[in-house]
Symmetry: C2
Subunit: 529 residues, 2 copies
């Protein structure tokens, strides 16, 4: 075995390494350690065919690889412990670089190098770095299990990721905020919704991340990072049930237990291609759940498949559930579809057509209660009433702890602090009227809409773009929030490979009926032509 | 983009894929899903240059790859979601296979294919499968943190992997046995040794695996698997402080908190290239530690560097520590070096020579107390007394729970159950005499020996081979166990790339002095010529 700069170099076949290749491989490592973005860019072949794979997925094209490096802010310090070179043709070689990270563990990188005019360049790379004990973007605590099952039933063998707003016996509630966690008492017993799943045979895998006080639908958390979205590498997870959604999408738990006040289950379900339900307001006991806005807060679940969602719902909801007689109509309110992101309308309409083709009674509904002005008013009243309650729940703590919140959440709470009792009272009156009117307009029909106004935005999307789709999404999700209705997000649709959920809003108490009917809808939505 | 069997296929440059390549890539996937070991073997190029990398490290040579597959027992079910083909020369192509595991997440595999007489074969593969929430071989529970620091000091920012025989507030003690864990009470407060580290600024990363009741030095656990050994891919971790050792070696914690009765810190330290110390018997409070054999049980730590070990020891040990005046001799007892594995004697002697070259007073010591017969007697007495205490600690539980223990641990306890009070009393008398004689023979000198009789045995080593080196190792580690002395394992030596610890046994109370002196020894041992 030869050496280069103290690094053992093995060349298959025993000959010399192709000229300049070892120097190139070590030069690339040096650029990596220096986080020299220009140099790193130059070591990769230009164009759209260059690839780089790691635990986060596959990046395609040098520009995507370069953007990733810019976001990352440097690789962990490591020492090359060995090079294996396999020359495969004139000017083509496969190189395996073993490395010893300064922080422990071992790493290995496979690279396909090609020589061109400018010298050797990487055409393909595959990187394995040591795994952390847990992914702190997704989890706060995990166990094998964290809490065992408390009984046996339809959820035997299933694991649960619990959003960090539920009490879990033996642990404090963290609410996505380090300063809140530091002062929170250890919970003596688990929340009722946790216990319901345990009683049906599920064990608790861990406590997963949430947006701060659950007051966001993005999933970005400045203290812990944004959970990954395995369905759309490089995109945000959605929130506020961000960690449970990622845990389920990653296969690290079977069930995400979350809350949904204004979309916090439906949005991450949509962004990550999961099933998710916001249950009828009040149907699942909220004992042991940190409130955001109790008038609207609901408990729900995220899963990879309908059957697990159904089992969780049966374990947690009253058995007597409202069920429509016959086949209810699926109605689309055109005024709800304002501000959709590029391509979303087409994909949603394609889904509606697929449902129609499968025999569903899908039609448009033009009712004053679901007209544009009425929806704008409903959304405004919802936000006002939600904000007043959120401030009542957390204003005291926030005031006593300046600087603990992320800018966007802090701005939301600042706005909330200014809602007067008069404005709140007026909003509640408006919401009651809207609810009555919508109930009358829908009758037995189910409301059909996209679960979110866009597919998952990229991590590095512009703040203004994110805010625009956020507003459009919340205007849609507020309908179920304001009326206390259950809302099921069904996976199946895709926009350029990114998932988009289809939301069905049912009658209060109709949660189990919705889930039971959704198997056929999902089949129609998921078919590709 | 073309398709093959429903799988989207992208070929760089837009031309057709090389003939038969896509079929080969999908054929390999089919063999993988069928766990068809013969077919899988045939898809890889024969010989010693074929490589396969994944999160466990790099396998070199088709035989090593094939053995790995045989051990693994099948890959997780997955669907190929896309193929990217980059033809790089006649008969050479790079293929990236993206897959969607049935259990969630995304996977990606990079392969270098070459066409030979028999068709396309894989010359190099790099596999990334979805990561689990936690590696259950290494950890039972992990958190960010599991318990925060309780104070500030020399361990600020450091994380601790706690062996699952220490009380951790809010969790039961599991002792490496599912049935024991299921019945164990939740601990109200953490063990004194845990609190000492927290008070100095360390946070608790999690509870890590142990051999069953800590009664083994292998690290194999039938319920949870054997923790990985990143220093020697494919080898056992060593135990019984198996999980903390792996966690530290993997960079998932900075400190492993463990116990050492008969080598349970020194052996995994040796196998994984870590620092480790068994402290003076009684020097660290064992309150809150599940006993194995209290007459010999000690608390200690594993680290990647000497400084962290020193900080942990200072935080946990009485400040007044015995210290030799001047430079004590390092003595080698030739009769201790019986039964060493192949090559170990040479490596150890090489290390001794390096210490001598660095100015240490290394010499042989021929004393009756350390002669072969005396050592055999000491080992027999130690095993007997240890077994009697172990049975006293756990016999009742074991009797009430037949079938819960692994065969080897069960056999050890069965043997222990037959130790009569008379045999135990005789063993204790013999140990007291041996201790007096060894103290007199050593004087102020430090005993120098390999930390284990072999480097880490392979997972699939023959049981008889493992048992032989186990006996030889225990005969060496029993000296410190029987005399209550501290024993420090220093990394640096290697045998064919696998680490071997160098053990220095000091006077009782000399723990901090040993650690302080070890920096120079380590430098001498770690130098490569």
């Amino acid at each position: 075995m030869a050496e280069s700069g103290g690094v053992p170099v093995h060349v298959a076949g025993g000959g010399p390494a192709p000229e300049g290749l070892v120097e190139a491989a070590l030069g690339y490592e040096a650029a990596l350690m220096a986080d020299d973005l220009d140099a790193l860019r130059d070591w990769f072949e230009p164009g759209d065919e260059t690839v780089r794979a790691d635990a986060s997925g596959l990046l395609v094209g040098r520009d995507a690889i370069t953007r990733f490096r810019g976001r990352r802010g440097g690789a962990a310090s490591r020492r090359v412990s060995g090079l294996r070179v396999l020359p495969v043709a004139e000017g083509v070689a496969h190189v395996v670089v073993e490395n010893a990270p300064a922080a422990g563990g071992r790493g290995v990188v496979s690279q396909l190098w090609r020589r061109a005019e400018g010298g050797w360049r990487i055409a393909a790379a595959h990187v394995t770095a040591p795994a952390p004990a847990l992914d702190r973007r997704t989890w706060r605590v995990v166990g094998d299990p964290l809490l065992p099952a408390g009984g046996s039933g339809a959820l035997d063998g299933r694991t649960v990721a619990v959003k960090d707003v539920f009490a879990v016996a033996g642990h404090p509630i963290g609410a996505g905020i380090p300063g809140y966690l530091a002062e929170a008492p250890v919970e003596a017993r688990s929340a009722a919704a946790v216990e319901a799943l345990r009683a049906a045979g599920a064990s608790i895998r861990g406590i997963a991340r949430t947006d701060q006080f659950a007051y966001s639908i993005a999933g970005r958390n400045p203290a812990y990072g944004t959970p990954p979205n395995p369905a759309v590498p490089g995109a945000i997870s959605g929130g506020s049930t961000s960690g449970p959604a990622a845990a389920v999408a990653l296969g690290q738990a079977d069930l995400g237990l979350g809350t949904d006040t204004a979309g916090s289950i439906r949005v991450p379900a949509s962004y990550q291609g999961l099933w998710g339900i916001r249950t009828t307001h009040g149907a699942v006991d909220r004992e042991g759940v940190l409130p955001l806005a109790p008038r609207f807060d609901t408990v729900g679940w995220l899963t990879r498949d309908r059957e697990t969602l159904e089992a969780a719902a049966r374990a947690s909801l009253p058995a007597a559930s409202a069920a429509a007689t016959g086949e209810p109509a699926l109605v689309i309110a055109p005024a709800l579809l304002h501000g959709l992101g590029p391509g979303v309308r087409e994909v949603f309409e394609h889904g509606a057509a697929a449902l129609r083709a499968a025999g569903a009674d899908v039609r448009e509904l033009d009712a004053p209660a679901l007209a544009s002005d009425a929806l704008d008013e409903l959304f405004a009243a919802f936000r006002t009433a939600q904000a007043a309650e959120a401030w009542r729940a957390h204003g005291e703590w926030i005031t006593a702890h300046p600087g603990e919140l992320a800018d966007d959440v802090a701005a939301r709470f600042a706005w909330a602090s200014e809602v007067t009792p008069e404005r709140e009272a007026a909003a509640i009156v408006a919401l009651a009227a809207a609810r009555t009117a919508i109930d009358a307009a829908l009758g037995e029909a189910l409301l059909l809409l996209p679960s979110a106004a866009s597919v998952a935005p990229a991590f590095d999307a512009e703040g203004a773009d994110i805010e625009a789709v956020r507003q459009a999404t919340l205007r849609m999700t507020a309908v179920a929030g304001a009326t206390g209705r259950p809302a099921l997000s069904i996976p199946g649709l895709e926009l350029d490979g990114a998932p988009l959920g289809t939301c069905v809003v049912g009658p209060r108490g109709g949660d189990l009926d919705l889930i039971a009917r959704a198997g056929g809808w999902h089949e129609a939505l998921a078919q590709r032509d």
